[in-house]
């Protein structure tokens, strides 16, 4: 009788063992997959950072940690006035684009999100259509407009041309946010005799700050990263934005690119973005999904 009890006990524990083993294996597989995704996402950036910290003599030695890190590459790029100018231009262009897009976007989104009028669907469709068409399609026409306005080779031309992709997007996302605000607020304002302008500035604006921060951030990133217009509508080093400046860094020959300074410049322009994204992670996700899933 004693043996019988023992037997059944050991069989039980065996079953348990294989089940827990399976569970552990599943868990391990899961964490392994997570680790792979993590390395895949982060490694290229990490590798750029360590490359940027290497002196040029160490550049071609494979290692996962720079043996003698120094900031010589950063000193090189910041001693070049054209790169510093490019950062200034990028900041100027991106901030102006964000302000214009938000100013025009908030009023337009009130009209589109809160008022029902004839032609609203047409306007929404036009905006959607503009947000879809390729930048190259307006390249020659835009070139003419910019030159006619005397904005060629000038950050002003970029500010104007970036509106073509930031504005539709901003209006679209702000409209979806505007729609979600409760009706009672506006009814109360109308009861009190507030005009639409007062309704926007006093009632909606305070509530729209989170949405405006999100769309502003997304517009900032889009303007900061833009390349095609920036490459085409500027000519001299002093007027370029950062992406163009980086793309055009060249060495003595095609095969001798100065990788250290290129990586230092890349890290310099990326770190602010990565920090912004880390801080506003939640907002960015909600902005992207509002622009896409609900749109």
């Amino acid at each position: 009788m004693n043996t019988h009890v023992l037997n059944s006990k050991s069989r039980n524990s065996k079953v348990l063992n294989s089940r827990t083993l399976f569970k552990i294996a599943k868990r391990l597989g899961f964490y392994a997959l997570t680790a792979i995704v993590l390395v895949y996402a982060v490694f290229p950036f990490y590798y750029a950072v360590i490359t940027s910290l290497k002196p040029s003599s160490d550049l071609f030695r494979m290692e996962l940690w720079p043996s003698a890190p120094d900031l010589a590459n950063y000193a090189t790029i910041f001693s070049e006035s054209s790169f510093v100018r490019a950062i200034g231009n990028s900041v100027l262009v991106a901030i102006s684009v964000v302000l214009i897009a938000l100013l025009l976007g908030i009023t337009a989104s009130y009209a589109l999100g809160r008022v029902r009028f004839r032609g609203r669907t047409t306007v929404m469709l036009t905006i959607l259509g503009v947000s879809m068409f390729p930048q190259v399609a307006v390249l020659s026409g835009m070139f003419e407009v910019i030159r006619a306005l005397g904005l060629y080779n000038n950050p002003g031309g970029l500010i104007l041309s970036y509106t073509v992709f930031t504005l539709p997007f901003t209006v679209w996302v702000l409209t979806t946010f505007m729609r979600q605000l409760p009706m009672e607020l506006e009814e109360a304002a109308i009861m009190d005799g507030a005009t639409p302008w007062v309704t926007i500035t006093r009632v909606f604006l305070p509530l729209m700050w989170p949405a405006m921060a999100t769309t502003g951030l997304l517009a900032f990133i889009a303007a900061w990263n833009e390349f095609l217009f920036a490459l085409t509508f500027t000519l001299t080093d002093s007027q370029r934005t950062v992406p163009v400046a980086i793309a055009l860094i060249s060495g003595n020959s095609q095969h001798e690119l100065p990788w250290g300074p290129i990586m230092a410049a890349s890290v310099t322009v990326t770190v602010p973005l990565v920090i912004l994204v880390m801080i506003f992670q939640r907002r960015i996700v909600s902005g992207l999904t509002a622009g896409a899933v609900k749109g």
Partner: protein
């Protein structure tokens, strides 16, 4: 196209109904004066935005269409002569000339389509896997989600440069690793070799845009009802079957949105390719081709013709996609 988009975007929302009720059904006690004031204000508020779009979108687009029928050059775009369809196709002295007879144009069309289809497919598959991963409960999930966002935040130019360095034929870490593992014997010229360069471009694009697809899918996953999953678990249905029978159909609408956004982006791809492989024919896309004609060869007429065709191809893709999408959704209902 018109009715599909308006169905989804305008009339489907509860909030828009309440916005409508303010101006229509309540007019009895509120009077039409308020309503008229609101409509007038709405148009007033829209005017600056519409004017801007007119200047930066409608007018340049129309000018591009027009310029494609001229022989204008970059130095003097208004001085071109109207030459009809000669930029597109012309029969002269027993041979065909123009965009439609240019084999390089057709190569770039094929490259663009190939790039778009392959990269978007890979992004969707990997995007779903990453989204499923992020949807699971585990310690450090927020950290992983933040890390996954990094490629999305990095400017395209920078990611292209980073990968160009990692793919460098002599000193790149990828060749180094592959040789260490014994997969290849000699270093590969990723960006110079005509057979490999398209894959290098696709690799960079996939890396950069998986986060976007993953986030959209994740948002859809988080809105799924949990009760059918509990039921499936009680019934002991295999998780893979649950995924294909329950999850996938439910996230299809979000997936469709992600695919159209990505597809439109991929069809107009420019910067990754410009930085990685420059004007090489083996990776030349329609945007690269059009810009090369416009800016480097200064041939605004011909370049505008290429831009116009790119615009038409993309519009065509959108219409087809929306048509197919609506039919598919209609069948499911």
């Amino acid at each position: 196209m018109t009715s599909t988009v308006s169905d989804n975007s305008v009339s489907d929302r509860p909030a828009s109904d309440s916005a409508g009720s303010l101006s229509t059904s309540h007019t009895g006690y509120r009077g039409t004066k308020v309503r008229r004031q609101r409509v007038r204000a709405a148009w007033l508020f829209l005017t600056p935005m519409l004017l801007s779009l007119l200047i930066v979108a409608a007018w340049p687009l129309l000018r591009t269409f027009y310029l494609s029928f001229t022989d204008a050059s970059l130095s003097d775009t208004t001085g071109g002569m109207f030459i009809g369809f000669e930029n597109y196709l012309v029969h002269d002295d027993g041979a065909w000339y123009g965009l439609l007879a240019d084999p390089i144009w057709w190569t770039s069309v094929w490259n663009t389509v190939y790039f778009a289809v392959v990269s978007v497919s890979l992004e969707v598959v990997f995007g779903i896997i990453v989204a499923l991963l992020l949807n699971a409960e585990f310690k450090g999930r927020m950290l992983v989600r933040a890390a996954v966002l990094i490629p999305w935040a990095i400017p395209t130019i920078v990611s292209a440069k980073m990968w160009a360095w990692m793919l460098n034929d002599q000193f790149g870490i990828i060749n180094h690793l592959l040789m260490l593992l014994g997969i290849i014997d000699a270093p590969l010229a990723w960006t110079a070799d005509a057979d490999l360069s398209m894959w290098a471009v696709i690799m960079v694009d996939v890396w950069k845009t998986i986060p976007f697809v993953a986030l959209l899918v994740l948002a859809a996953l988080q809105m799924l009802p949990s009760d059918c999953y509990e039921a499936a678990e009680v019934d002991g249905i295999h998780p893979l079957k649950v995924f294909f029978r329950v999850t996938l159909p439910l996230i299809t609408p979000a997936l469709m949105v992600a695919v159209i956004f990505r597809l439109l982006d991929a069809l107009r791809v420019f910067d990754v390719i410009y930085v990685l492989t420059s004007n090489s024919t083996s990776t030349m896309t329609m945007s690269i081709y059009a810009r090369q004609q416009l800016v480097e060869f200064q041939d605004v007429g011909y370049g505008s013709a290429a831009s116009t065709l790119l615009f038409l191809i993309i519009s065509f893709a959108v219409v087809i996609y929306l048509y197919l999408g609506r039919r598919q959704l209609g069948v499911e209902q």
